[in-house]
Every structure is written in structure tokens, then in C-alpha cells.
């Protein structure tokens, strides 16, 4: 049963991710990404990370992607014009980048193969309590720093997006 669910959501995630690239219009890409996010969240649940799964949906799908869709609608973007290539100078990138990427994948695969598959006996579920406990004790400083990061990003976004300050 779990295997079936895994393959279902894995296929959904990969398919949606490919769809993100395949779509001509960014709005469709964004929607495809939302599907992918939800699939990944479902995978989180399979991994006993319930809290994180829900948070992933709330933050990513509920906030970040809404922002994307919002901006796309705000700018009322047209679909990508076909055949408009940036410059021929960048063609070599495809020649180099794709092999590099595949090489990377192969190496990751090799690494994965090296990872010992010993299942850990201690079963752990990512409850809100466990995460909160760890976040507010061991990771308190990074946590506070992220709040600073968010603040800076907030101000930066306002500065960039405002027409004239």
C-alpha cells in the first residue's frame, strides 16, 4: 500500500516538475509547481513528517506560490514568445550544462548507492512538539537569525518593488 502511494506521488511530483518546464505560460508552470509541492508534502507524510508536510503546504502553496501567481497576474504576462533566443553566445552552455547535469545525477546516484541502507530502529515522527523543542533549544540562534533574514527580505522587496521611494 505504502509502495503504491509512494510511486503515485513520486510520479506526480516528477510529472509536475517536468510540466513546469514544458509549459509555455508561466501561470501554468506555477500551477504545475503547486501540484509538485503538494505531492512532495504527501511524500513527507509517508516519511512521518506530518507537521512539516502541513507547513510545507501552508508556506509554499499557501503563501509563496500565491505570491507568484499574484505577480504573474499583476504583470499580466503573455506566454513565452516562441523562438526568441537570447543570444547565440549561450549555445555552448547547453552543450556543457546538460552533460554536467547528467554527470551530477550520475554522481549523486553513485553516492546514493554508497549510502548504507541500514534502517534505524528508532522510529521518530516529526510532531510539532519535537520540532518545536529542537528549534527553540538547539537551534535558537539560527531561528532568531532567520527572523532577521525575513525582515531584511521584507524591506528589500519593498525597496525593489516600489516605484519611487
Amino acid at each position: 500500500m505504502i509502495q503504491i502511494l509512494f510511486f503515485l506521488f513520486a510520479a506526480l511530483a516528477v510529472g509536475a516538475a517536468i510540466n513546469v518546464l514544458a509549459q509555455k505560460h508561466v501561470l501554468y508552470s506555477s500551477l504545475a509547481l503547486i501540484v509538485m509541492l503538494t505531492a512532495v508534502s504527501a511524500l513527507f507524510i509517508l516519511l512521518q513528517a506530518e507537521f512539516l508536510a502541513v507547513i510545507n503546504v501552508i508556506v509554499y502553496a499557501g503563501a509563496i506560490m500565491v505570491l507568484f501567481v499574484f505577480v504573474i497576474m499583476l504583470l499580466n504576462l503573455p506566454a513565452d514568445p516562441a523562438g526568441e533566443d537570447g543570444s547565440d553566445r549561450l549555445r555552448w552552455l547547453k552543450l556543457i550544462g546538460i552533460p554536467l547535469g547528467i554527470f551530477l545525477l550520475l554522481m549523486v546516484g553513485a553516492t546514493v548507492w554508497n549510502v548504507s541502507n541500514s534502517t534505524n530502529a528508532t522510529q521518530m515522527t516529526g510532531t510539532a512538539q519535537a520540532i518545536g523543542q529542537s528549534l527553540f533549544t538547539d537551534y535558537l540562534l539560527p531561528f532568531e537569525l532567520t527572523s532577521l533574514l525575513i525582515l531584511i527580505a521584507l524591506m528589500g522587496a519593498v525597496v525593489f518593488a516600489k516605484k519611487d521611494l
Binding site: V14, A17, V20, L21, V26, S29, S30, L33, M36, V40, L43, F44, L47, Q48, A49, L52, N56, V59, Y60, A63, I64, L67, F68, L74, L75, L77, D80, E84, G86, S87, L90, L93, K94, G101, L104, V108, G109, V112, V115, N117, T119, N120, A121, T122, Q123, M124, G126, I131, S134, D138, T146, L149, I150, A153, L154, G156, A157, F160, A161, K163
Partner: protein, 100 residues
């Protein structure tokens, strides 16, 4: 029980899709979306390892990745708006003035 390998391979595939998207697409929003794909792939590995080793730290890290993603999306989209306002285009290859 699903072996760890499967998750890792899935994450690698997703990551590769993100990388490809970043290299092959020209729309800056699609580029940002590709970055989100990559981040999610990484999140998946974190959670997979976290569940494998029974350590909560991996999930904490996903938390931080989420925060960074949110910040990145906010600033990135602000830049997109500014860029679109100035150039009427979201093609990243058109904005190449910042160079030697």
C-alpha cells in the same frame, strides 16, 4: 517500508529537473520556479535522511530552507516587478548589462 534509495533517487531526479529548467528556460519567473523545485528536492532528501536516522535535525533544516525560500521568493519577485517595469520583458538574456 520504502528504502531510502528511492527517495534519494527521486530527489536527485527532481533536482536535475530544476537544474535543467534553470539552464534551458529564459523566463526569469520560470527560473525562480526551477530554484523552488531544487529546494524541494533538497528538502525531500533532508526529510528522508531525518526519518532514516531518527534525528529531528533534518526536519529543522527543512524549516530553515522554507524560510530562505520565502525570503528568496519575496525579493526575487520584487526584482521581477522592477525588471518588467524597466524592460517590458522577463527574458534574462536581455538583461546582461552588469558585466565587465
Amino acid at each position: 517500508m520504502i528504502p531510502l534509495h528511492w527517495y534519494l533517487i527521486l530527489a536527485a531526479v527532481l533536482f536535475l529537473i530544476g537544474v535543467l529548467g534553470f539552464f534551458l528556460k529564459r523566463n526569469i519567473i520560470t527560473l525562480l520556479l526551477s530554484v523552488e523545485i531544487m529546494l524541494n528536492a533538497v528538502n525531500l532528501t533532508f526529510v528522508a535522511f531525518s526519518s532514516q536516522h531518527g534525528l529531528i535535525s533534518g526536519q529543522i533544516f527543512v524549516f530553515f530552507v522554507l524560510v530562505v525560500a520565502a525570503a528568496e521568493a519575496a525579493v526575487g519577485l520584487a526584482l521581477v516587478i522592477a525588471m518588467f517595469r524597466n524592460r517590458e520583458s522577463l527574458n534574462v538574456d536581455r538583461s546582461n548589462l552588469l558585466k565587465w
